[in-house]
């Protein structure tokens, strides 16, 4: 098994912060067995299938991803998946309205971008989606330069960008930096409203990670608003909500945590040799998501043993701290993929572990933890761990 894993590990590429991209369809199918309800995996798989020109299969995966994104309240990401799907095969008469209805039903919270889309009628959203263009950019790319004309509105589907906003006095030497903010998924940028004003960017905007955007041009949006006046009202409402919630930086952190399922504190004992005779390396981490079959784990800062690919194939013992359990659960597993995620400050390693063995009792406890009757308390506990604990 380990040999197979090692061989397969060579096919693993890195992309997207925390998610994985694999350039083999077999590998993806294996990952999807472990994480069957992760919409980002399904979307990434669909992208790969589309690149491989397996268009029918890609359509199915985009559709699956869109449905799963709606289930977890990720409206914009669902729309992006649908755009990809409908670029390959346009929607049938009933499919478009069905998606629109699911989108409206799945809306939750007070995210301005979600409200913008979810409040539209079907003809309105169809016109907007039709005018949208998908853009994927690598980390470190300048998306908008100070004083560029504001010609389009960009919605962030995934990834993070940095926005440096300047006050411009009119003389170039008197440009003064006034703020520096991060933007993540579900934010938007592009100051195009009110339409009659010809605006120039007050910011430099750069990608921090790999980023996916969907954008629509100002002329196209103006034309849509001419035909569907309510879209303009929604646009106005979205800009207003953005300016009112501009100070709420902590909400993004919260949102992101919930979307990636609940984090759980774990300790990994990694055996560097095959028979486990040497002292293991002990690393702490947090699960990004977890099921009875495996977990995606973000390693703690103390992991520093060289290229992350070296970890693939290692046998590990994982201690999972489950609330209300007196002792941590003990699970044996194998690291089946790893990925390095970098931001400006540090590099983090994310690994995928396939669970191999655990006691019947631990399996029951893990099952209860993952799917049990105390989900709300577990979520509170985990949000506490990630948002509030020092």
């Amino acid at each position: 098994m380990n040999n197979q894993v090692e061989r397969r590990s060579h096919t693993i590429n890195r992309f997207l912060d925390g998610s994985i991209a694999i350039d083999s369809i077999d590998e993806f199918e294996k990952m999807l067995d472990i994480f069957p309800r992760n919409p980002a995996f399904h979307k990434a798989f669909a992208d790969l299938l589309a690149r491989e020109r397996s268009f029918d299969a890609a359509v199915d995966e985009y559709r699956e991803a869109a449905g799963l994104f709606i289930d977890v309240g990720m409206t914009l990401q669902a729309i992006a998946s649908k755009i990809s799907e409908w670029r390959i095969a346009g929607p049938s008469h009933h499919e478009g309205p069905a998606f629109h209805s699911a989108l409206r039903e799945g809306i939750s919270g007070d995210i301005p971008v979600h409200n913008f889309f979810a409040k539209m009628s079907y003809p309105e959203i169809a016109a907007v989606i039709d005018g949208m263009v998908q853009i994927r950019l690598p980390a470190g790319k300048r998306v908008k330069k100070f004083y560029d004309a504001e010609n389009d509105i960009n919605f962030i589907v995934s990834g993070a960008l940095n926005k440096r906003t300047y006050h411009h006095s009119g003389k170039e030497e008197e440009i003064r930096k006034i703020s520096n903010t991060d933007m993540t998924e579900d934010d938007f940028f592009g100051d195009i409203y009110p339409f009659e004003e010809e605006k120039r960017s007050r910011s430099d905007i750069d990608t921090v990670t790999r980023v996916e955007l969907v954008k629509i041009s100002k002329p196209r949006l103006m034309s849509i608003c001419g035909e569907h006046p309510d879209v303009e009202l929604l646009l106005e409402e979205m800009y207003k909500a953005q300016s009112e919630s501009g100070k709420e930086s902590s909400s993004r952190m919260v949102r992101k945590t919930v979307r990636y399922e609940v984090p759980t504190k774990i300790k990994i004992r990694s055996f560097t040799d095959r028979d486990g005779s040497k002292n293991p390396l002990v690393i702490e981490g947090i699960t990004r998501n977890m099921s009875l079959g495996g977990a995606c784990i973000v390693m703690g800062a103390r992991y520093l043993t060289g290229p992350s690919a070296n970890m693939v194939g290692r046998n590990v013992n994982i201690q999972i701290s489950v609330p209300e359990a007196e002792e941590a659960l003990n699970v044996l597993g194998t690291i089946v993929w790893s990925n390095e995620v970098s931001d400006e400050e540090r590099t983090t390693v994310v690994v995928g572990v396939e669970f191999k063995d655990m006691t019947v009792l631990d399996r029951e406890r893990l099952k209860k933890y993952c799917y049990g009757s105390n989900e709300a308390d577990n979520l509170i506990f985990n949000l506490w761990e990630s948002l509030m604990k020092a």
């Binding site: 919270g109 902590s250 919260v254 509170i380 949000l383």
Partner: protein
């Protein structure tokens, strides 16, 4: 809960109920500060101590022995709540003390509770702030649900967050239970779902509504859903010592949205302020706190948000 249970019959008077699951989180302090600011803004305000098992609001206002209490109303010594209001040091702010030596008052009978609720609507005020007791007894929940603003106070501790979530959850099920009281089969289904280990595996309100929709149709489910949407509790995190502590309210917001289909509003935090402790220990009225007090400043912002 029927429309008749609405506390505020007087169209001008708004009722704010301050509750939360756990004792010692500062419900009374927050109630006083909110009432204080309302009064300072020129609103005729009545602060009412509904913590009938452990009333001490009068003490926090520097009143050692209130001349009239809610007990006098229950025992019919006074026929209206208006008659037992006492003035405080703060202009526009009056108090209805809950102090009582009658232990059974903590377990108010249904008729007594109804009498209080109906009489609140007759009070001559712009705002009535109810300081509810700890816990999730039906009496506490009914006062909470009947108010115009349903405020839950918590502290940035896991136990407090869990208790506050339980408080909101119990409020939701209490409302559903009362709404279905004349429909035995629906009532039984809702009662079953309260225990998350129920045999039908309904662990969330969303799952309960799916069951209701299947069994009783979309209209019944939709009407209950709308009633639950109206609860909209407002979260205030008290005793905030560092910025991340303010996330406590957001945790309730996220969990309640996911599991209860309830939209909580996060009203923000009240900074920990040692002067509150000093004033309480020294039996000094909290309304005498210097207005540079951090806690008082935070509650001003919250009061403004609640008013908007």
């Amino acid at each position: 809960m029927g429309k008749n249970d609405k506390v505020s019959g007087n169209p001008g008077a708004k009722v704010w109920a301050v509750g939360g699951g756990k004792g010692g989180v500062g419900k009374s302090t927050v109630s006083i500060f909110l009432a204080f600011w309302l009064a300072r803004m020129g609103k005729r305000t009545i602060l009412m101590d509904v913590d009938l098992g452990g009333a001490n609001l009068h003490t926090l206002l520097g009143i050692k022995s209130p001349p009239r209490t809610i007990n006098d109303f229950i025992t019919k010594k006074y026929s209206a709540l208006e008659n037992i209001c006492i003035n405080t040091e703060t202009e526009n702010l009056r108090l209805i003390s809950g102090a009582s030596e009658i232990l059974s008052l903590a377990n108010l009978q249904f008729a007594q509770k109804t009498k209080i609720i109906q009489n609140i609507s007759l009070l001559d005020a712009d705002y009535i702030v109810l300081d509810l007791g700890a816990g999730t007894s039906f009496n506490v929940l009914d006062f909470f649900l009947a108010a115009d603003k349903k405020i839950a106070v918590l502290t940035p501790q896991p136990t407090s967050i869990q208790n506050t979530y339980a408080f909101v959850r119990n409020a939701v099920y209490r409302k559903l239970s009362r709404l279905s009281s004349r429909d035995p089969s629906l009532h039984a289904l809702i009662k079953t779902s309260i225990d998350t280990k129920n045999e039908l595996k309904m662990q969330t309100v969303k799952e309960l509504f799916q069951f209701i929709q299947e069994l009783r149709g979309e209209d019944v489910a939709e009407s209950l859903r709308k009633e639950i949407e109206e609860i909209r509790p407002e979260m205030i995190t008290n005793m905030v010592r560092e910025p991340r502590d303010k996330n406590a309210g957001r945790i309730i917001q996220l969990v309640a949205e996911k599991y209860l289909m309830v939209h909580c509003a996060d009203m923000g935090g009240v900074d920990y302020d040692r002067y509150v402790y000093t004033a309480t220990s020294g039996m000094v009225a909290l309304t005498r706190l210097d207005q540079s007090s951090d806690a008082l400043a935070c509650t001003y912002e919250i009061a403004m948000k609640l008013l908007s």
